[in-house]
């Protein structure tokens, strides 16, 4: 499969995506002038464009390559990932979107400080943004390595490095404004790159007689078709627990992802924030029906990948099923899409993490834009180095852990901060620390130890179902114990969060 034409086309597509990304980025640069432009596009992005941008940013390598790979190797229970990643936006819409925008803060630490008037909460939030950001960036670099290795034969570290360099150039040049245009473009690139080859692959499959991948007689890697297609069959011993825990993590985790939250400040008002979220749900739904089909076809045509490197199944299928120049061209298109996925998510995360680092670490020593640039370098280099030294656990698994951590920390902070008057700064810090430590321990365990079977493995593998309620409980109990310290401006702040912009309360 790795003939010369394929390698050349693969490299060419990576180059094209990088150049296009940088070109659109520098077009945005002419529009961005101030520090505010760098962070949040001066809040002038329309709902539809913002919807494209959020979707483009959100659909990471885990979505583009990871889901198909997981479906191939683990079966139908992995379909809960994309469902949860989409449903999280519904939870965000119903409880967070409009009030978050009306809070008028730039980042999650900004929200925490504005709501609770406490530097301590701010610092805890900033630290968590950086940790979640690193955790989410790491698998992007690893995945990029896998993708480039499959299509061009380059060593795994090269793909990650390529993504890191392009992201850094792009973010350094334009910041958020250019990232908005880049990401809107990348949504369409990703959708096209996944849809077009799929049409050819399905035609080939129908031409071959259209055998069902769920055929009971079809046994590959020791799993027959029926077991593979069973949606409740997690590898561990407690499938129902794992499924529901994954649901908790994804449904509640989306609202706490730094790169998602930062985009909400680019909406002009709370109403636009809702419209944007509605658009995002539709766009994600349109995308997420595609990867499972790749996974199913992979079971028929590339069953060998289930055991070794299933993350590459999307890229491998055109070569196996179509072959020749046509196969190479389709693979090149898919490579472009995958690369766009790594670039978009990494750019968004880098901007979010760098924004927080700028405000909370570098701002005292360096002025505005320079501080942001230094922070961006840190935000890219650290997770890239981490991606080289940790054991490879699969793109979607690590991303899943980032969701669990977001769900156990920022979800309680946002929900209680927006809807409950009783929250105090101490309660918030206690909850953030509890949620962060519990899920953090689970993350470290997953990255270092290889457990199989038993309750411990299930509980640690999917920590959200116990960590999220514990974090909520901590936040509420400590807030009640310190109830004399409820900030004096709480009512006033809640008025601001929930009053529609058409009613002109002095928004301060």
């Amino acid at each position: 499969m790795l003939d010369d034409t394929g390698t050349v086309l693969g490299l060419l597509s990576v180059l094209l995506v990088s150049v296009a990304t940088l070109a659109i980025g520098s077009w945005g640069l002419r529009l961005s002038r101030t520090t505010s432009d760098f962070f949040v596009a001066s809040r002038s992005v329309r709902p539809r464009l913002n919807g494209f941008a959020i979707s483009g940013e959100y659909l990471s390598g885990a979505s583009f390559l990871g889901i198909a790979g997981l479906v191939l190797s683990n079966g139908a229970e992995m379909l809960w990932y994309p469902v949860g990643w989409t449903a999280g936006y519904l939870v965000l819409l119903c409880l967070v979107a409009a009030p978050l925008r009306r809070s008028g803060a730039y980042t999650l630490p900004d929200f925490a400080e504005a709501r609770l008037h406490s530097r301590g909460v701010r610092r805890a939030s900033a630290l968590l943004v950086v940790v979640i950001g690193f955790l989410y960036l790491m698998p992007q670099f690893q995945g990029a390595g896998v993708a480039l290795e499959t299509t061009t034969g380059l060593p795994p570290w090269a793909g990650g490095l390529a993504v890191a360099v392009v992201v850094l150039l792009n973010v350094l040049a334009g910041g958020m404004r250019s990232v908005t245009f880049v990401q809107a473009f990348q949504y369409w690139l990703k959708l096209t790159a996944l849809l077009l080859p799929l049409v050819f692959l399905v035609l080939v499959w129908l031409g071959d007689g259209g055998r069902s991948p769920a055929d009971p007689g079809l046994v590959s890697a020791g799993v027959d078709g029926l077991a593979w297609a069973d949606p409740i069959d997690f590898a561990g011993d407690h499938p129902l627990y794992s499924t529901y825990s994954l649901m908790v993590a994804t449904f509640l985790g989306v609202m706490g992802l730094p790169h998602v939250v930062v985009r909400y400040y680019t909406n002009p008002d709370g109403r636009a924030a809702r419209q944007t979220t509605l658009a995002v749900l539709a766009l994600l739904g349109a995308f997420y029906v595609l990867p499972p089909v790749y996974g199913a076809l992979g079971r028929l045509y590339a069953p060998g990948l289930a055991a070794s490197g299933s993350d590459s199944v999307v890229l491998a299928l055109p070569g196996v099923m179509v072959g020749g120049l046509g196969g190479d061209l389709l693979t090149a298109l898919l490579t472009a899409g995958a690369f766009a996925a790594f670039l978009a998510t990494s750019s968004g995360l880098t901007v979010a993490v760098a924004g927080v680092l700028t405000q909370d670490v570098t701002s005292r020593r360096l002025e505005g834009v320079t501080g942001f640039r230094v922070s961006a370098v840190v935000a890219v280099v650290v997770p890239y180095l981490l991606s080289l030294v940790t054991r490879e656990v699969g793109v979607a698994t690590v991303v899943g852990l980032a969701f669990a951590m977001a769900a156990a920390t920022f979800c309680p902070l946002l929900l209680l901060g927006i809807w409950w008057r009783g929250l105090t700064a101490r309660g918030a810090v206690a909850g953030l620390v509890a949620g962060g430590l519990l899920t953090g321990a689970a993350v470290v365990d997953n990255l270092v130890v290889d457990r199989t079977g038993g309750w411990i493995a299930s509980l640690v593998g999917q920590p959200a179902a116990w960590a999220v309620p514990l974090a909520f409980l901590t936040m509420v109990v400590v807030s009640r114990l310190t109830r004399s310290q409820v900030p004096a401006h709480t009512s006033r702040f809640l008025v601001r969060l929930h009053t529609p912009e058409t009613v002109r309360v002095d928004q301060g």
């Binding site: 139908a76 409009a98 069973d230 649901m247 739904g285 009512s491 529609p500």
Partner: protein, 136 residues
């Protein structure tokens, strides 16, 4: 802005003097000068403002939780449904188990529909709130 035929010259003059912006039709009542608007009351955290806000907050929270309950009863109930009704996994549609199809393709339209409904109702709540605040 509509002119009321029964308006006396005096109220008209007074109105012109204090007029800043008009957001709803005038009711016929006489308007005395240092009258706090509901918006400023909410800001001053007066009791009335508290009630306004509490009403909106409760309405929005009820709406949000209601839609999320619907999410729990549809998408959220699927794992339990698949365990309790194994038939869904045995029965096949176009060569794939029905449960597979539900999960891979069926959830997304439900999510979009719920979101669309929420946006409509949330905006209706806010319009109702705006009417109450500006009329009183």
């Amino acid at each position: 802005m509509t002119e009321h035929p029964d308006r006396t010259e005096q109220t008209e003059r007074a109105e012109r003097a204090e007029r800043v912006r008009v957001t709803s039709p005038r009711t016929g009542r006489s308007r005395q000068r240092p009258r706090p608007t509901p918006a400023s009351e909410m800001e001053a955290q007066s009791e009335l403002g508290e009630i306004y806000l509490r009403t909106l907050l409760r309405a929005q929270l009820r709406l949000g939780l209601g839609v999320l309950l619907a999410l729990g009863l549809t998408v959220g109930a699927l794992p339990l449904l698949f365990v309790l009704v194994p038939w869904l996994t045995r029965a096949q549609l176009l060569g794939m188990p029905v449960s597979w199809g539900l999960l891979a393709f069926g959830c997304y339209p439900v999510l979009v529909l719920l979101a669309w409904r929420y946006v409509r109702l949330a905006e209706r709540n806010e319009r109702a709130f705006a009417r109450v605040v500006e009329r009183s």
